[in-house]
Symmetry: C2
Subunit: 150 residues, 2 copies
């Protein structure tokens, strides 16, 4: 864990909070190059865009307007929550070497698949991220279940 990772998670949390304030699933994601450039940001758009594929990480990658893997392979993907199989698969497809997550208590994604493919996974155990999810899930358990295919 580095100072930069905390700054990265701050931005991802800002995105999650935006989502929360829009009435959406409060998960945020940021893609940051190892030179410190913030490449893109995004948050879950299930509610806002009636979308089943715009999870935070997919929204974030979509917001790059199509960067090649020569960029993403030098980036860290931040997400306030452990990435599901779809988002994990996107990180692998684009050869993202590091994934920093806020927490994995609310949901355990496909971290084993990341590890198996030598992607570094760091869990910051960030209480803010979990608190925001707890608040959302208490209000809208059915939307959350839908988001994770339950």
């Amino acid at each position: 864990m580095t100072f930069d990772d905390i700054k990265g998670m701050d931005l991802a949390y800002e995105e999650a909070l935006k989502g929360f304030n829009e009435g959406g699933v409060p998960i945020g994601s940021v893609l940051i190059h190892k030179d410190g450039t913030v490449i893109s940001r995004g948050h879950n758009m299930r509610v806002q865009k009636n979308s089943m594929t715009l999870h935070a990480e997919i929204s974030c990658l979509e917001a790059t307007n199509r960067v090649p893997a020569s960029i993403t392979k030098n980036c860290t993907l931040y997400s306030t929550l452990s990435p599901c199989s779809m988002c994990t698969g996107s990180a692998l497809l684009f050869k993202i070497p590091r994934v920093v997550i806020g927490e994995n208590e609310t949901f355990m994604g496909a971290e084993d698949w990341l590890a198996k493919n030598n992607v570094e996974v760091i869990n910051l155990k960030d209480a803010r991220c979990k608190d925001l999810m707890d608040k959302f899930i208490a209000k809208h358990p059915e939307i959350w279940n839908e988001d994770i295919g339950e």
Copy 2:
């Protein structure tokens, strides 16, 4: 392989052809319920929407306008090409039990991950699907490489 699977692949191929005629990566996908209802269709939008996440399967799922897994778990996902790790991950997330592909010679996706999760994978070895990809790749190898994170 059933007659329905061939009809499903015909629709996926139609989508791939639409993509080709738009100048895009010619991969198409269709989601069909086991009762025969075509739930949604889509094709790769890398070129058309400057998108790195709208692979055919993701476009197809996006076009459902958010169906729950209670629907997708009774569907077959058709794709003219073996699904990459991201699209495989989306099939797993939404508990899609069957994936029918046109071919896997152009690209071998994460079929092992589907199999490991007890998703039935059927390869129709459809020459039309491969021919269309061959034509596209001969013209635009750089776009194709970008699409698969190379």
